[in-house]
Each structure stands twice: as structure tokens, then as C-alpha cells.
């Protein structure tokens, strides 16, 4: 088992990542991955797609058939159309239900694996020192704070370690996002510039270069 220090860090990292990316995005991504796997659910979805296509084809035929001139054909198509529509609606209901179930399961698993662990570990290991501070380096009130709430004096408690991890990770992610944002903005600007360059008529450009030469 890896040390508690690492576990706490990992949990905080996951929480921060989920917060940044967004729970819904992650759910959707996992849903799409689940659908691409060879499981009954994805087969059902493929079937639904096929049925939808079939339905649309029947509907096109139905619209193309004159009910007055070819009543028998029209009525047969109509029956097929109605049957398919009913079937499709039923399937859609079932699939929506399974999607909701999937989301719910995923959400509960995520909550337990992040929030639950986040609360449970500090509670369970509150008396355990994560690591010891060098003796005599820090004044009493710092040592008291570092061991908050129940770890022995002179050590760093799990709660304080968690806070530290959260703070550092939040800072790091913010930095990364800011840097990424800068990059994106810079690239956008470049692209815009290129567009403007293209949009500038040739004569205006020539005049500009002439003025520069003078």
C-alpha cells in the first residue's frame, strides 16, 4: 500500500481534475466509451440507430406514396410506420432509462471515491503523524497548527497535509489553465492577424510598403 501522503495527494488531484473538467463531461465521455464496448447496451444502441434509419426510410416512402392512387401500398406502409414508431418510442424510453441509471451509478461511485475518501481518511487517521517536523525549527504555535487537530505535537497531521495538497494543486491547476489560456489567446490573435493580412487588398499593401521605403 502506498503511503498515506501519496494517497491523499492523489485523491485531491482527482477532485481538482473533476472540478476543472466538469462531472457532466466525464460522465458523457465514459458513456461514449461504454457504448463503443461490445456490451449488450451498445448493441441495443446500434439496433436503435438501425431502427431509426428504417423508420425514416418508411416515412419517406409513405410521403412519396399517394394515398388516393395506391391505397393498399399506402396503408401497408402506414401500418409499418405506426409499428416502427411505437417500437422506437418504447426503445427510446428504455435507453433513456439506462442512461439515467448509468449516470446515477457513476455519480455515486465518484462521490464515494472522492468526497467520501476525502472525509473518511482524515477522520480515520486523524491521530497519525504524516511526518515529523525537525525538532526545534518552528515555534510552538506553528507546531500546534501543523498537528491540528489530533496528531501528536511536532508532527504534521493528515488534515493539514490535505489542506496543503489542495492549496498547491489549486494553484498549479490555475497556473496551467492561465498558461493554456495565454497560449490559446496568442494563437487566436495570430490567426486573426493572418486573416486580416489576407483581407487587406493588394494595392493598399503596396502603398504601405512604399511609405515605409520613403
Amino acid at each position: 500500500m502506498p503511503s498515506l501522503l501519496v494517497i491523499i495527494f492523489a485523491v485531491e488531484l482527482v477532485v481538482q481534475l473533476v472540478n476543472t473538467i466538469g462531472a457532466a463531461t466525464i460522465n458523457n465521455l465514459l458513456w461514449r466509451i461504454a457504448l463503443s464496448l461490445p456490451i449488450p447496451l451498445s448493441a441495443e444502441f446500434a439496433e436503435q440507430r438501425k431502427k431509426q434509419k428504417e423508420y425514416l426510410a418508411v416515412r419517406r416512402d409513405l410521403n412519396a406514396t399517394s394515398s388516393q392512387d395506391e391505397f393498399a401500398k399506402w396503408a401497408r406502409l402506414r401500418r409499418q410506420h405506426d409499428k416502427l414508431l411505437e417500437d422506437l418510442e418504447k426503445r427510446k424510453k428504455d435507453l433513456d432509462g439506462s442512461k439515467t441509471k448509468f449516470d446515477r451509478t457513476l455519480t455515486s461511485v465518484r462521490v464515494v471515491a472522492t468526497r467520501g475518501v476525502q472525509w473518511f481518511l482524515p477522520f480515520w487517521y486523524s491521530r497519525e503523524p504524516m511526518f515529523w517536523l525537525p525538532y526545534g525549527w518552528f515555534p510552538y504555535y506553528v507546531e500546534w497548527f501543523a498537528s491540528f487537530p489530533r496528531a501528536p505535537l511536532g508532527s504534521v497531521s493528515i488534515v493539514v497535509w490535505q489542506w496543503a495538497c489542495t492549496g498547491v494543486l489549486a494553484l498549479a491547476i490555475e497556473t496551467v489553465m492561465a498558461v493554456l489560456g495565454l497560449f490559446v489567446a496568442a494563437r487566436q490573435k495570430q490567426q486573426e492577424k493572418a486573416k486580416v493580412k489576407q483581407a487587406v487588398p493588394a494595392s493598399a499593401k503596396a502603398e504601405g510598403s512604399k511609405a515605409e521605403a520613403k
Partner: protein
């Protein structure tokens, strides 16, 4: 040119209603279709033919605009009455709307409250709250009456408006709801009665227990009607149409709807066919004949599992016993157009 239409292919079912006459287990026969296609004429003719092979036949019109009296030139009322000239064929006319009024009024009297208070008021609310329940109740009422009369076969001449058998669609829902209500009332009834006083009177003067009993009996009758009507040995539906687009469209819809209710239907009567004499120079007749032929071909193609009966349009109105009898012959012996 007409014989080609009349001579059905070998794989088609025979173009008569003989199968209905032969099926002795049939108890309820419905005749339905769009207005003006000849439902009453068809049901009267079918009744006449059935009377020849059954012990006793009752013809019931649920059409508010009663035509049975017209067809037989005899007045019929809410009680079954023998038709003049027959020994085993009776007819009656009921009004689906009227019978629920009677039902409600009867209850009002039982409660000793003339102003529709008590259970009557409750039932009235119910009748307006659930579509088709009034029809279901009137059917239940008719069934109760008819059962005691012990007719072998009952033919319903249904109303063209709305869907007479609409109520067959919702009984499962209604049954579930009523079962739930009954269960709740039996569970919480004592508690409620504690609130409501010893005789269980609701604030608006209705009695809880009595109301529940009424609902329970209603549920029982409706479910009985259902099981009877959905049994193909007991019940069948005869669709009447004319070879025109709208009539055909309605018929197709009706057949699909009946299938969704689980009601058996395997006969279509195509009425008012024109058979102009060869060499006839009637422009309208030949044009119309052409159009009818087109739809007839479509009917043959679409309903190959049905007995499609073709009836000609006569030059006189089909009224009175003799004419109806003559007309009814064509339900069992395919009409051969004059050459």
C-alpha cells in the same frame, strides 16, 4: 367488365358473411363504419340472415339518430320488441347518453336526493372526468339487461361518431386506478371514518363506503365487458364502407384501432357499388364505376385476410321487411351484376 371484379381469386376468402352465420359461438356482433355508408341496412340484413339460423336474435341500435325504426317502419324503444313478421328477431334502440342520465337519476333517487347529491354526484363527476366511461357504463347496463333476456346473438348497430369501443382502450388503466383506490380505502377507511364520523359522510354529503362499493361494481362490470368483447369466439366486428377514399381511410384506421383493442374483425362489407348495364351511356355512372373499381382493387389487395362482401347500390331505398330480406340475400350469395 364487372365479372372480373366479382370473381375473387382462389386464395381470397369467400366474399360473403357466411362465416359469421356459421360461427355458432358468436354472441356479440358489432356493425360499424363512417356515417352514411349503410351500417343500419347492413346490420338489419345481417340480423335477418342470422335469425334464419339462430334461435333468437336481438338487434340493438346505439346510434342516437335511430334508424331501426325507419328501416323496419316500426317504432322501437328502450325495451326489446319483436319485429313485425319475425318470430325470433327483436330490436331495441338505446341512447348511450340517455342511459347514463337514467343511471345517474336512478342513483339520485336511491339516495333520496333529487339534486344529484350523494353517490350520484360522484358518479356524475366520474362520467365527466374519464372519457368513454359513460359509454362503458351504458354498455355494461345493456349487457346486464340483455343477459337476463337470453338471446343467442346480439347485433349492435353502432353510432358513427366517435369511437364506440373507445372505452376498451382504458380499462386496464381504470382497473389499476380503481384497485388502488379500493385498496387505499380498505386500508385507511377506518382511519378516515374516525375523522368523518360514524357513518363515513364526506364533507360534501357523499358516503365514502358507498362510493367505494359503487366504484368496485363499476370496475367489475367493465372488466367483464372487456373479457367478453375481446374474446374472438364471442365477439366480432363487421366493418361497413363504401369504395371511396375517406371511407376506406376511416375503415383502415378503425381496423387498426380494433386490432389494438384486441377485438376480432374479419369481415368488410363494401356497400353502394355501381354496376351500370353494359352499353349504358350514363356518364356519371361509368366515371364513378371506374373510381369505385380502383378502390375495390385496393381493398382486395390490402384486406386479403378478410371476407370482403360486395353489395350493389340499388335503385330504391332499402326499407321494409321485404326489401331488407331481398337485400340480405346478397350477404350470403354474392351479387351477380346484370349482363
Amino acid at each position: 367488365m364487372s365479372t372480373a371484379i366479382i370473381n375473387a381469386d382462389d386464395d381470397h376468402l369467400e366474399p360473403t358473411l357466411q362465416s359469421i352465420l356459421d360461427q355458432r359461438s358468436l354472441r356479440w356482433i358489432f356493425v360499424g363504419g363512417k356515417g352514411g355508408v349503410g351500417k343500419t341496412t347492413t346490420s338489419c340484413s345481417l340480423a335477418i340472415q342470422l335469425a334464419k339460423v339462430r334461435r333468437s336474435v336481438l338487434l340493438i341500435s346505439t346510434d342516437p339518430a335511430h334508424n331501426l325504426s325507419d328501416a323496419f317502419s316500426q317504432k322501437f324503444g328502450k325495451e326489446a320488441r319483436l319485429i313485425d313478421g319475425f318470430e325470433n328477431l327483436s330490436a331495441m334502440e338505446i341512447d348511450p347518453n340517455g342511459s347514463i342520465q337514467d343511471l345517474l337519476a336512478g342513483q339520485g333517487e336511491n339516495e333520496g336526493a333529487g339534486d344529484m347529491g350523494g353517490v350520484g354526484g360522484m358518479m356524475q363527476d366520474l362520467a365527466f372526468a374519464i372519457p368513454g366511461i359513460d359509454e362503458a357504463m351504458s354498455f355494461a347496463e345493456v349487457l346486464k339487461q340483455v343477459k337476463s333476456l337470453s338471446y343467442e346473438t346480439i347485433i349492435f348497430d353502432t353510432a358513427p361518431t366517435g369511437h364506440t369501443l373507445r372505452f376498451l382502450q382504458f380499462p386496464s388503466v381504470l382497473e389499476k386506478a380503481l384497485a388502488k383506490v379500493s385498496q387505499l380505502s380498505s386500508q385507511y377507511g377506518p382511519l378516515l371514518n374516525g375523522f368523518l364520523g360514524s357513518n363515513g359522510t364526506l364533507p360534501n354529503g357523499q358516503n365514502l363506503n358507498e362510493m367505494m362499493e359503487k366504484l368496485e361494481t363499476l370496475r367489475a362490470t367493465i372488466s367483464e365487458v372487456n373479457t367478453q368483447f375481446k374474446d374472438e369466439r364471442l365477439t366480432t366486428f363487421v366493418c361497413v364502407c363504401i369504395p371511396e377514399f375517406l371511407s376506406l381511410y376511416e375503415t383502415e384506421r378503425m381496423i387498426q384501432e380494433l386490432a389494438s383493442y384486441g377485438i376480432d374483425t374479419h369481415s368488410i362489407v363494401v356497400n353502394q357499388l355501381l354496376f351500370p348495364k353494359p352499353g349504358s351511356d350514363c356518364e356519371q355512372c361509368t366515371a364513378r364505376r371506374k373510381m369505385q373499381k380502383k378502390y375495390l382493387d385496393q381493398i382486395e389487395e390490402l384486406y386479403d385476410e378478410f371476407n370482403v362482401v360486395k353489395m350493389p347500390l340499388l335503385v330504391e331505398e332499402v326499407r321494409g321487411k321485404e326489401r331488407l330480406e331481398k337485400f340480405s340475400e346478397m350477404l350470403v350469395k354474392p351479387f351477380v351484376p346484370p349482363q
